[in-house]
């Protein structure tokens, strides 16, 4: 790890202004990706602006129609939140199966979304539920947030403050894990909004995406057979040691069908 300066701002506002003065600086959320990259000397920020003491960025608010999660809320806290479990059980379950126990107690939803790892879990839920991401500057709709491999709509220095998930009629997330890293090789989040359906896919492409054909079929009828016959094209999907684009395409259909089955249970 290269040397860096460490800062612990007292407010989100201070964090943003600190960051504005440090072009090579980075926000530190849970550190589950950034610190690893720094240890491998692949990332060498000049400054780390630690957000972990900012209470204003943590916490969960559940209303009848939405679940709002503060950006610095740890995965374990989302997983354990009874009201999340009641409103969107699929979201709590997703959070409870991210990484391992240690990761879940450090990693945060804001950090995960800002990093936009192609195999992260939360992006599938954000797209699958049509969440809204609030930053220190604006609100960004899910569909406009993920821009590509590790790329988001966030501008330099822009800080995620919370994420709001609409409560669906039913939803489920089904993940096929990379055998080594246990990240999502393919993860599919399906949600039924009654006559409207959304399908968010992670792990399969350079960045999470929606599967329009499946959404259409599920809108007509939210049932396993609606997606079971949808053949996904391998074109543009990731290929690596663990899964070819063809295998990933196949797994999207299998995981989508299993997710619909799970949602209906």
């Amino acid at each position: 790890m290269h040397a860096f300066d460490y800062h612990r701002p007292a407010s989100a506002k201070d964090a943003v202004s600190l960051k504005a003065g440090k072009s090579e600086g980075k926000y530190l959320a849970g550190g589950q990706s950034l610190v690893q990259a720094m240890k491998l000397r692949l990332s060498s920020p000049s400054d780390l602006i630690d957000l972990s003491s900012l209470k204003e960025l943590t916490g969960i608010k559940v209303s009848g129609s939405a679940v709002e999660i503060g950006a610095m809320t740890r995965h374990a806290d989302v997983a354990a939140a009874a009201d999340v479990g009641k409103a969107i059980p699929a979201l709590a379950a997703l959070a409870g199966d991210i990484g391992d126990r240690q990761v879940r107690h450090m990693g945060t939803i804001g950090g995960s979304l800002a990093n936009n790892d192609p195999a992260a879990d939360y992006p599938a839920a954000v797209l699958g539920l049509g969440a809204t991401i609030t930053t220190n500057k604006r609100k960004i709709e899910a569909d406009g947030f993920f821009k590509g491999l590790y790329e988001t709509a966030l501008e330099e220095g822009e800080l995620i403050t919370s994420v709001s998930f609409p409560v669906p009629k039913r939803a489920a997330y089904m993940k096929f894990k990379n055998p080594a890293s246990r990240f999502a090789l393919v993860g599919v989040f399906v949600a039924d909004f009654g006559g409207k359906a959304r399908v968010g896919v992670t792990g399969a492409g350079p960045s999470a995406f929606r599967q329009a054909e499946m959404e259409k079929a599920l809108a007509a009828k939210f049932a396993p057979e609606s997606v079971a016959s949808v053949k996904v094209s391998a074109s543009g999907l990731n290929g690596d040691l663990h899964a070819s684009p063809e295998y990933r395409a196949h797994l999207i259909t299998v995981m989508a069908r299993r997710a619909v089955e799970a949602a209906l249970k």
């Binding site: 290269h2 080594a180 890293s181 040691l241 663990h242 295998y247 797994l251 299998v254």
Partner: protein, 784 residues
């Protein structure tokens, strides 16, 4: 009389230390004047070193020294030696290219050491290492062992990249048997390359004293005396008396810590140059690219059978990838420890094996848990199971038909099995695995949309490679005995010094059980010392499941001497004739009387020799022994594996795994079970998850745990274990060894089960979900 400690489930004495974080590993050793080394490693698989510019690095903060290959060459530091000379089919010695500790002129694999930076802190050393500027002229890399012999040589001495072509058996006779056979089963097999990944990375911390002109090296080694011998005699040209090697607590080895590594040499040499203690500890990324890897065979295997399934002959051609350099025992693994195991548990009368060992631009390959024997078992047991399917025979029956039943048994591949009872372990395994109800379970699985398969493996292992003179005639450049010493203290407590080395095996408990049982002592009164050349008289170390069979026997031989001397002392104390003294577990007794002396009384008399035959006997009670076995030991066992395959995703789950092993006498069943669990996990890892991959340019694709899949607890089932005992006939404990068995037998059992589930001839290891899915797709297409 107390109950015997042999066969008792004694809790591990070492666990308090380990579980409370009090273990002392090499990296825990902090020496005065400590400095830290960081190695500059090649990012290329094959390149000419045009220039290594260290000027900037030398001026970096905290840097004490920077050395390159040129510095070692100027100081006449030799290359690393290979410990086994293989003579090829033409009677010529194998090709032994130089293996420099820091690259000389060329690099031959990603991760090869180009320079070392030594600094006041580790961070400073790492920062400065990034400032070493290396100008590489990148050359084409040869990665695929099958293509190595037609590529340009990576070493001058081996222009076709062939280290040796070696063979065992009468090819003409075997070819003739094949020509006449009613049936031939043929398989193309790849034994996948594995990366060891001991939990503790390699580490070396060396210090030099100008006052006494000697060195101390703390190092993660499975055999500190061998490390010292190789380093002093072959590399640094130092008297052994001037080098102390300490291998303190070592966190796993699996073979990867047998070898002398370049980093060990560099820090030891540098400690004198700088008059400083120099420490290097691999980070995990360095372990991946620089530890010796395992396996990596490409094989064509054939079995000739008569119409009733009797084995007539076996023909095996293997290409073995040795990597870029010859690691310490690399050459004997795909030959001496492989071809000789191809008889397995069967009476196959004719066996021919030809091995072409090649150099490639990959990390060196050497012994890894099982070392040659898993590769052999994979060949034999996959062939046998496939032959049964070809002939529509029950795979169990074809094995019974061919089992060796008369012992001793001379195999056609040089080994003499002393004892065994293969049917006994197989019968037990079939019963425990409830094989007769397998068809029902298969139907249940099908109802859930899962494909269920069953597979068997009946393995043989050869442990405690020996005797030294035979090994020598086969090319070994070292002895294969073991040494032990029993130091009895005046109050009758005992310190045992053993040349075996524990790095997870629990010797401190198992060996103490042997000694405490023989001397009638509480186990707390027996202390086991290992891993320090200044304490232990000599040692060949721990590998090849040899510790209890060879190291344990050396201890028993020393105990015999203790008891013999004790009898003389007891005879004096009891005023009886020595011939009348009987000994049993701590009690010296005059035969036929109730006159006796306890072991502690005898020990006390030896050290306070007031009433003692000083005219005939030296005081004191301390004995040592060297034991060179007359033969290998031959553990064997029968494994039954059931798998369930998810047809949609290709995911394979081990539904059950039964292992019945014959390790001869078992000293501590709990420790043996632990060894079997670990071995099975690694064997299942090889079959299902682990596979080292280089890309065509020689970059290690599986260079971290993000891509290299070691098995997790959830990947293995609750094992069903049992043992049967046919005691070894040529060592006093009747023991055979158990460390590698699981890793030897498991891959074949798992792959036989998967191929059974899928109804295909072969699936390559590791059978990941993607691989199995592809196999199912191909089968579906073939049907259309």
């Amino acid at each position: 009389m107390s109950t015997s400690l042999i066969g008792a489930r004694v809790q591990r004495k070492e666990d308090y230390r380990f579980l409370t974080g009090a273990g002392q590993y090499t990296d825990d050793v902090a020496l005065p004047q400590q400095s830290y080394a960081a190695f500059v490693r090649s990012p290329h698989a094959h390149a000419v070193l045009k220039k290594v510019d260290i000027e900037k690095a030398k001026k970096a903060p905290g840097v004490i020294a920077v050395y390159t290959g040129a510095d070692l060459a100027n100081a006449k530091v030799g290359g690393l030696p290979c410990g086994w000379l293989i003579t090829d089919v033409k009677g010529q010695p194998m090709k032994e290219p130089p293996y420099p500790s820091l690259a000389q002129g060329k690099v031959r694999h990603v991760g090869e050491r180009v320079a070392v930076v030594i600094a006041e802190t580790l961070a400073q050393a790492k920062d400065a290492a990034e400032m070493v500027e290396v100008d590489y002229d990148v050359l084409p890399a040869i990665i695929d062992p099958k293509k190595a012999s037609s590529a340009k040589g990576i070493h001058e001495i081996a222009p076709d990249n062939v280290c040796y072509v070696w063979a065992l058996g009468d090819k003409a006779a075997i070819d003739a048997a094949f020509a006449k056979a009613a049936h031939v089963t043929k398989l193309d097999l790849v034994n996948n390359r594995l990366i060891p990944n001991a939990i503790e990375p390699r580490s070396a911390n060396a210090t030099y004293s100008r006052a006494s002109d000697d060195y101390t090296l703390y190092v993660t080694s499975q055999n500190p005396h061998v490390e010292r011998l190789l380093m002093t005699a072959f590399v640094l040209g130092l008297p052994e008396s001037k080098v102390r090697v300490v291998a303190p607590d070592v966190g796993g080895g699996f073979g990867s810590k047998i070898y002398l590594y370049p980093e060990d040499v560099v820090v030891t040499w540098a400690s004198k140059q700088l008059n400083r203690a120099v420490k290097w500890t691999a980070d995990r990324s360095e372990s991946f690219v620089s530890d010796a890897h395992g396996r990596d065979h490409v094989t064509v295997a054939e079995l000739a059978l008569d119409k009733d399934g009797k084995f007539l002959a076996m023909r095996v051609k293997t290409t073995a990838n040795l990597g870029a350099y010859l690691s310490t025992f690399a050459s004997c693994i795909p030959t001496i420890l492989y071809a000789t195991l191809l008889a397995g548990q069967y009476t196959t009368p004719l066996i021919y094996c030809e091995v072409t060992a090649v150099f490639t631009n990959t990390a060196p390959v050497d012994a890894y848990r099982g070392a040659g024997r898993p590769e052999a078992t994979y060949v034999v047991e996959r062939l046998v199971e496939t032959a049964a399917r070809d002939l529509k025979m029950d795979p169990v029956e074809i094995r019974r038909k061919n089992f060796i039943r008369q012992f001793p048994y001379q195999t056609p591949v040089a080994l003499l099995y002393d004892t065994g009872n293969y049917e006994q372990t197989l019968d037990a395994a079939l019963q425990i695995a409830d094989v007769k109800n397998f068809p029902k379970r298969r139907e249940e699985s099908l109802r859930k949309g899962k494909l269920r398969g069953i597979g068997y493996a009946c393995y043989i292992e050869a442990c405690g490679i020996a005797p030294s003179n035979v090994a020598g005639s086969l090319g070994a450049r070292a002895g294969l005995f073991e040494a032990g010493e029993i130091r009895v203290h005046p109050t009758g407590t005992v310190t045992v010094f053993t040349g075996s080395h524990a790095h997870g095996q629990g010797h401190e408990t198992t060996f103490a059980q042997v000694v405490a049982d023989r001397l009638g002592l509480p186990i707390e009164n027996v202390e086991i010392v290992h891993g320090d050349t200044s304490k232990v008289l000599f040692g060949m170390g721990t590998y090849g499941s040899r510790s209890i069979a060879v190291g344990g026997t050396a201890i028993v031989k020393a105990l015999d001497k203790i008891v013999a001397k004790g009898k003389k002392i007891a005879a004096h104390l009891l005023e009886a004739s020595e011939a009348d003294i009987e000994y049993d577990r701590g009690v010296f007794k005059v035969a036929g009387t109730d006159k006796k002396k306890m072991f502690g009384e005898v020990a006390f008399a030896a050290y306070v020799p007031h009433n003692y035959p000083l005219d005939k006997l030296e005081p004191g009670l301390n004995e040592n022994a060297f034991y060179d076995p007359t033969n290998f030991t031959f553990p064997a066992g029968s494994y039954v594996c059931e798998v369930e395959v998810d047809k949609e995703t290709g995911t394979t789950t081990i539904a059950s795994f039964t292992a019945v092993d014959d390790f001869g006498k078992v000293i501590n069943p709990m420790i043996v079970e632990g060894q079997v669990h670990g071995g099975l996990a690694q064997g299942i890892g090889q079959a299902l998850t682990e596979g080292c991959r280089y890309d065509e340019s020689g970059q290690l694709v599986t260079g971290s745990f993000l891509d290299y899949t070691i098995p997790r607890a959830g990947d293995v089932p609750m094992f069903q274990l049992d043992t049967r005992e046919t005691p070894c006939t040529h060592n006093p404990l009747g023991v055979k060894g158990c460390g590698e068995a699981g890793a030897i037998g498991a891959p074949a059992a798992v792959m036989n089960a998967i191929t059974d589930a899928l109804g295909v001839k072969d699936v390559p290891m590791p059978a990941t979900a993607q691989t199995v899915w592809k196999s199912l797709q191909e089968k579906a297409h073939a049907r259309v």
